[in-house]
Subunit: 451 residues, 2 copies
């Protein structure tokens, strides 16, 4: 770990060189470094929280004067109940995960004395760009070290003092005895270099943004380096006809919409089969959502169906006309767009056209409908009778979450540590030439071997 | 299959819609389509070869007048011995491969009645850009159909007549009875639309270039869509000290350099440990290479060592001084750059700095050196005592090769059918809400289940 004020190209070059050393470290060496990181941060608690208090005071002033979003201030606060402990525990949790590196995933005997292995290995150099939350620094440094990657960290300016103190502490800790080279994890302190960093596609292999949709969107637009993440989370659920347990459907949809409206896996669009409009599940769900304060932005048909229910005035006032844009909007608030569709196919087509390929669900008693939905909907998560809110690395049992990806290659959906790895082919021979094989010559055995 | 003169955006949109149907087809439906494609091409042999003869005649005229590279003319010729049969057999070979789609690669019981699966699925829409070889059309259409992807095909203008005829034949065949929608595989006939296609990152998920380094390089520079492939294949081999079997080393290096000099997996740089300069393996290898007509572009130390051998005048004339650029050059010819390095670490550093991350080898009796080399060299293929020429999907036993990738995410090295797939998470529940789980509430089981 180190702090660097070097020019971005130089920082990236030194990170790349360090990545080649990281790739040779044993799991024990990487885990020892994680323990040092944890212990040094724990020992420096007071200094870090004092630095954090300075950042916080400045941010509060900025917020009071209207120059900073107040929600950012609370995210900055490392002193909030449990946050410090969670950050430290997070390092130990990452340390306890199985080693993602060096797993042999394919082993083939090409010939006697000529064995091919596909082995997982680090990707190389990560560029992590994050906003105010200073605990991301510890989290992402831990993920990088665990997965054997080098990383350049560029944090939001609001947490400058906290980050500088944390990075100094970590640099001292790792500098002493660790096998992890100092240049392997670098906090980039130079200002206004994000554009320059994003141009370094020769030395930086993957960008991991941690922050708002706007941050991710602007990064994706500005770089040729692959970006692991998602800009949008426009999740939909389709209520098919024949749903029997109305209370269950209502509680599932309430969870999906109101559990944490600002989350990327929250429900934004509800599609209803036209034959389900008059069924109890839809009415129960709508009532529950209205009672929870959700504004229902309805197309004409669904609005008419809802107004026919005997709802009180408060509820009725929350049933409003949808505009076209509502079906392309990630509200991140207590708003839900509702549209009636004539068929399963129409629901699938709507989601593929208007969704964000994040997570989409169908509520149906029909296995055939569910399976077709799950095959045809082109999203990272496709659910049958479950809330979209399950889309999460911890809930999936991955132990950690690097991000949720809507990419169509490499990693998709909630991404665990393995998203920070790739593989290489190791071929161990005994002097073979490829030209010795072929018609009328030696033949390949291509025997699959035990892993 | 269809031919389209539509605007690129429209073609891509219809391909995307077709991809959602492709994703629901069974393996039998996709394999039936492949059989139809094979049979229809076989039946239309005369018409296709007649069209090919027209392309060929035009190209020969262009080449004679110096407007076309003559090597391109022979690549155009579908009538060359075995080429037609190979093309047809290739479709059947792809058809016979295991289904890459629908494989469950992870299954976890999150809770009773709540099972998570990670299932392989097609990526979506491929854009395949290829040069003169018309057989690529059949090959890539087969790979796309087998893997459940939609594809836009854009071929070089030199094979226009052949491609139009083939695509028409395929369109008729698939149109009749196939479950594969016409828009799933489209030959783009409109001229000069490559730039436009490369801009369609919303509907096109992956670009697969088939052609020269220049083609790949220009595509990579011009698009934000992920590109599966490699621009360069600058492969190196390091002769460590202590290699005993000089004849074997010579034959391996001869294979690597001269087996097919224009191939991306051919040897371009030979690194020699300074202590190996006086060992028999180096002398034997150099003599063999010189005898085969290879020009050795040597640094000072290796040149001095070679000139001290008793070589004839013809051989001596092929020992020339290297310039710096030689160590960054993919010669694709009977030229080899030779450099002396003081250590294993120096060899690793040279390869990581000057190589193309394709395939690199070490010749050494030391297992420790070999393992360190294979961990530290950041290439798709890292070999111990084997020729770099083994880097090939067929030699690896993959049954087919979509390309060789030097990317650091998704697919690396020789890429088989699985490189055209990604995965999605299917979650089958029974009405669960995510908010029901947590501290003091229901607990996740996270039981790993049999696949």
């Amino acid at each position: 770990m180190s702090l660097t004020d070097a020019a971005p190209a130089e920082a990236a070059r030194s990170a790349k060189a360090a990545s080649h050393i990281m790739a040779t470290l044993t799991a024990d060496e990487r885990n020892d470094a994680l323990l040092s990181m944890h212990n040094s941060l724990a020992a420096a608690r007071d200094a870090i929280l004092a630095a954090n208090a300075k950042d916080l005071a400045l941010a509060q002033r900025e917020a009071a004067e209207g120059r900073l979003n107040p929600s950012l201030v609370s995210r900055l606060d490392l002193g909030r109940k449990g946050k410090w402990e969670d950050m430290l525990q997070g390092i130990l949790d990452v340390r306890a995960l199985p080693d993602p590196v060096g797993r042999v995933v394919l082993r083939t005997r090409l010939d006697d004395g000529l064995v091919l292995e596909r082995v997982t290995c680090p990707i190389g150099v990560l560029l992590v760009i994050f906003e105010a939350r200073p605990e991301v620094l510890a989290n992402i440094a831990a993920l990088a070290v665990k997965s054997g990657n080098a990383a350049l960290l560029k944090g939001g300016k609001e947490s400058t003092q906290t980050m500088l103190t944390m990075a100094t502490v970590l640099a001292n800790a790792l500098g002493k005895s660790s096998a992890v080279p100092a240049a392997a994890v670098q906090l980039v302190t130079r200002r206004d270099v994000v554009q320059e960093l994003l141009a370094l596609d020769r030395d930086i292999d993957l960008v991991v943004p941690r922050g708002s949709n706007e941050l991710v969107r602007s990064i994706k637009a500005d770089t040729r380096i692959p970006v692991l993440g998602h800009a949008d989370g426009l999740c939909s659920t389709f209520i098919d006809t024949g749903v029997v347990d109305a209370a269950q459907a209502a509680s599932l949809l309430l969870d999906a919409k109101t559990g944490y409206p600002a989350a990327c896996n929250s429900l934004e669009t509800l599609l209803v089969h036209e034959a389900a409009l008059s069924e109890p599940a839809f009415a129960a769900a709508a009532s529950a959502l209205l009672s929870a304060g959700v504004t229902l932005r309805c197309d004409e048909t669904s609005k008419a169906a809802l107004l026919a229910l005997s709802l009180d005035e408060v509820a009725q006032a929350k049933i409003v006309d949808a505009v076209d844009d509502d079906f392309d909007t990630e509200f991140l608030s207590l708003d839900l767009a509702i549209k009636v569709v004539p068929s399963l196919d129409a629901a699938i087509a709507h989601i593929n056209a208007h969704g964000s390929h994040h997570t989409d669900a169908i509520l149906t008693p029909s296995e055939a409908h569910a399976e077709k939905f799950m095959d045809a909907v082109d999203s990272a998560g496709v659910y049958w009778n479950a809330s979209t809110r399950f889309a999460d690395g911890m809930r999936y049992g991955f132990g950690t979450e690097v991000g949720i990806s809507t990419n169509k290659i490499h990693s998709r959906g909630p991404v665990g540590l393995e998203g920070l790895t790739i593989y290489k082919y190791k071929l161990r021979g005994s002097g073979q030439a490829a030209g010795a094989y072929g018609e009328g010559k030696k033949q390949y055995k291509h025997e699959s071997m035990a892993l």
